[in-house]
Symmetry: D2
């Protein structure tokens, strides 16, 4: 079930970068939640590119429609089908890379695995796929917020080597990369306020394990930390025991949950790079198109959405622990 | 399915620290693999405590028995039931903590979630639970090694603040913590050599996402990195594209897979700590028992085992991508 | 995962009778299958009502569109999103039954379970939901037919009390029921020719167990038989052992698989019936709308589709039994 | 997940007829249920052979032990490991059939699928495998009985051609078959009294669909009916609508649930039969050993157990429908 996330709040995503549309089917949303497109659209707007000069200039409208599962303004307990049509597609941009693998991308991997790939904009491996996650995640957020007051807030923590990340430093680092036809990595911080208590199912469905999976399933991610993260490895027990962690034994304590997620630099850069093709021949490539110089910039709403999907799934699971 | 790991190579683990036994049922192992207890025991021996003065002095024999799924020395394709009896149990040690929650442990979380807990040695949240993972993982390792030459090697990379981790530094750091009735965190490095190519199922079952989940499901883990990890966030695209990563788009490239996992310090320390009980009363606790001053020391074989379970599951999945 | 069918060839269906559209997302279809709408449409046409006077006179176009997962005429291994828009909706017909539960329908059950329901045409419990199954099933059929020559053929075996079912008897029985403002049950026979050998996963995912589940998930079904079915209960071992069964121990033998499925009469009848409403008050109802007097008539293509989904899922699973 | 049943109350079974033991791991049982071996043993005793001259004379003790998941007499919410050791094994009896496939059995199917099989008593395909189902099912029964007063009662309805099944007719039919070195089929009726209301998850996890799967996963089953079953196909809507069904739209109504399950005759008979071996050579076989002349006789407790597993799983799921 490779494009399906969750066991009880199950999100089945579909759609390619340059196909007709992108969408998700959300199965398992409880009945009775007030829901309309206006609950979802603001999150898609946050994700959308073209809003600042720091992101790709692709103009995507990304208007969501609800096709099922809502009646008279409320969810009915049946699957919610969400669809976003693709509009601003410059497929021609990609003819050049039809035969040459873009370095650092999944092009070669898809060809090798499936014997075939949709080369237009990365197809399914495109970051546009995250539209479906954000749309589905927004339903989970609304539910958890109304039920438990839970809030998901993510933001860029740093970009490139600079660990202190004020807005100005970030902008400078990204502009500098862009001017050089280059891209740059970044770190996103996530805070979950008022998470429901007692979520997480030992042994394998620990809250942190599912959050880690969710975050590492976002394209371009390379690391995940919770609470003190790698810093915990440097601490003494007497110090660490004093920290109020978001989870113990994989179960949420009710305290805020703090995570950090590492994003690698966008592999699409306009600098000339060495590459190869299906036949193993060596060539050169300069990736035109319109690309984010720093994927971390648009990532926060995706990170929040994935976290919401994890907690929502565990929330629906919670009733089974004591059979009430 | 909280104690079940994997979709096709499915491991169902069970057992408490001070119960009668600990075990796992492995469902989905292909038929025809030569298998006996002697293939599994060496990995349990590596995990076993009491081997050096750096680990807990609990003497656990941890002898594995295969109860099903093997006939005439070969797996039959039916579930393999593995069992390890518990022997050296000092339940009395735990009477003292029956009513007081151990700081940094899951005691309070279990009580809150289940309304009840097995207080003997952490019950199910004990590190002894990992016996089942190592036993099951050893079958996956054998299969992948025979089929693809895959090798899983993990080792302690650092302990505490010291980033350069020669054996001497590690020993000094741990001894120092122990003498102070304290414990210390550490980082484990994992290398997967010769991983099968084309494993990983986009979108959500990416190899790195499943590895992250597997690692964060190990008790005391707080962070996960793959390839350059958090360092990737500091890099430029032109640099990062030159790295040979273990996965692209979640699919293994055939290159070695490198991961790092952060372990917090053992929460069980003999120093006097403040704590509370079920009624919210404040008290003091000094945890006696016999505990590892640094859980990272015994973690490598657990890390290797979980990685093997992930790759094995994806390996069985691979046939479905092109229907061959 | 209530609206999701299958583990490896996973079909996620959505849509209500009188919503905007109905659809399915097929996750796990192998790459490289030639596929276009014209491979799917003929099966939807067979399912469509209004074709003969024996079925409802609702005129549904039911035109399928493929929104993702196909590129240059071939499946890419990514999710295939299928959509059929709803057109001929007479929602007004249903205002009358907004408050009164239709006898024999799921109206009361949905209200009780979800505290709320989409009363237009049964909403999600409508037979229109089976459009998604037929669309998804047609992909499985094409794959299995090209790969193994498998053919799925179902037909009405009998209608009402008459066990010998020539076309004339069937027509007479249905016309008679309709004239009386009544409906009538029926039995559908399914033959799977050239099923792939060695499918089915003991213990619980036996071929016959999954077929039974698939068939009993079709609205209005009440019974399932395989091979000799209930007749086997009357036989001696010496007789029964001579039969060539489609499965042994849950595993396909390669011989044709024969099943029979019982359909109850359509609960929607125009005769005046006693009923009740949400408050438990008793009333009378005569269901107008346009309904099939015998659901079994349009069921064969649905039965074939569900069988194809079962075999397809098991087919993708087969590679894992011996690890090849 | 072939030997795993259920999504939230998950039963992982293992063990061969002539292996060391047979068992099950039950994951997802709510905490706080009073449970000891004495709650399980009576159901195993009912299943046990050798109690009357109508069943096999194999003397099996089948004593269950709980290895985990229970502390101070109550379930803790962690996996419950159940084990029954195998004792009375006459492996020698099976040497004769090592090379020849028993007609009507899964011998050839297992050899074909796995390339190899445990020929001792059918190995995993033996009816002894159902011990694990009965043991696990007894926990579900206890929970549902205490929580909702639910009762599961199955009994033999008929044996062979005789549709009216008084005890005397049954005995005569079976004795007659046995004397002729033959076996005979039978039908088992199941009644579920006081089932919890609102169970079942449309679309695919309908109560009747899961019951059908559960029943057809029992060895030797060939048919399943619910409510009026195949008889419903003969009825008019005006008649059928008056019946109080156990489920509507797949959701339990709270009314009793009635099912019928068809069992084929035991394929193991002592009459001389034609058979073949792995090389396709034709031979003759007379199956000695000690076999039930009518598997339906011992089936009721197995049928009840599987029904309990289905309802228990749906019961744990119910909390997610409205998010309460």
């Amino acid at each position: 079930m490779s494009s399906i996330f969750g066991k009880l709040f199950t999100v089945s995503t579909w759609g390619e970068s340059h196909g007709k549309a992108i969408g998700a089917v959300v199965d398992g949303c409880p009945a009775g939640l007030l829901l309309s497109e206006s609950d979802i659209q603001p999150f898609l707007d946050r994700r959308r590119p073209g809003q600042s000069h720091l992101t790709t200039q692709r103009k995507e409208c990304d208007i969501v429609k609800i096709l099922s599962g809502v009646f008279e303004g409320k969810t009915t307990g049946t699957p919610i089908s969400l669809i976003v049509e693709n509009n601003d597609q410059h497929s021609a941009d990609y003819e050049q890379i039809k035969d040459w693998y873009r370095p650092g991308h999944a092009d070669e991997a898809y060809d090798s695995k499936y014997g075939f790939r949709d080369y237009r904009g990365g197809g399914r491996s495109s970051a546009r796929e995250t539209i479906a996650r954000v749309a589905a995640g927004s339903i989970a957020r609304k539910f958890l917020n109304e039920k438990c007051g839970t809030e998901f807030t993510a933001q860029v923590n740093s970009v490139g080597a600079d660990s202190c990340a004020c807005a100005a430093t970030i902008e400078t680092a990204i502009e500098s990369a862009r001017k050089n036809g280059d891209s740059i990595g970044g770190i996103v911080n996530l805070t979950i306020k008022n998470p429901p208590k007692n979520l997480g199912e030992p042994i394998f469905d620990r809250t942190e394990a599912l959050l880690a999976m969710a975050m590492l399933s976002i394209p371009a991610t390379k690391g995940f930390e919770i609470d003190e993260g790698f810093n915990a490895a440097k601490m003494l027990g007497s110090e660490h025991n004093k920290i109020s962690c978001g989870t113990y034994g994989g179960i949420t304590s009710g305290a805020d949950i703090l995570c950090r997620i590492a994003f690698k630099p966008t592999p699409s850069i306009s600098q000339v790079q060495k590459t190869k093709n299906k036949n193993g021949e060596i060539g050169e490539i300069s990736i035109k198109g319109r690309h984010d110089p720093c994927v971390a910039i648009r990532a926060p709403v995706i990170v929040e959405s994935m976290a919401a999907l994890v907690l929502m799934d565990l929330f629906l699971h919670r009733g089974s622990s004591n059979g009430k």
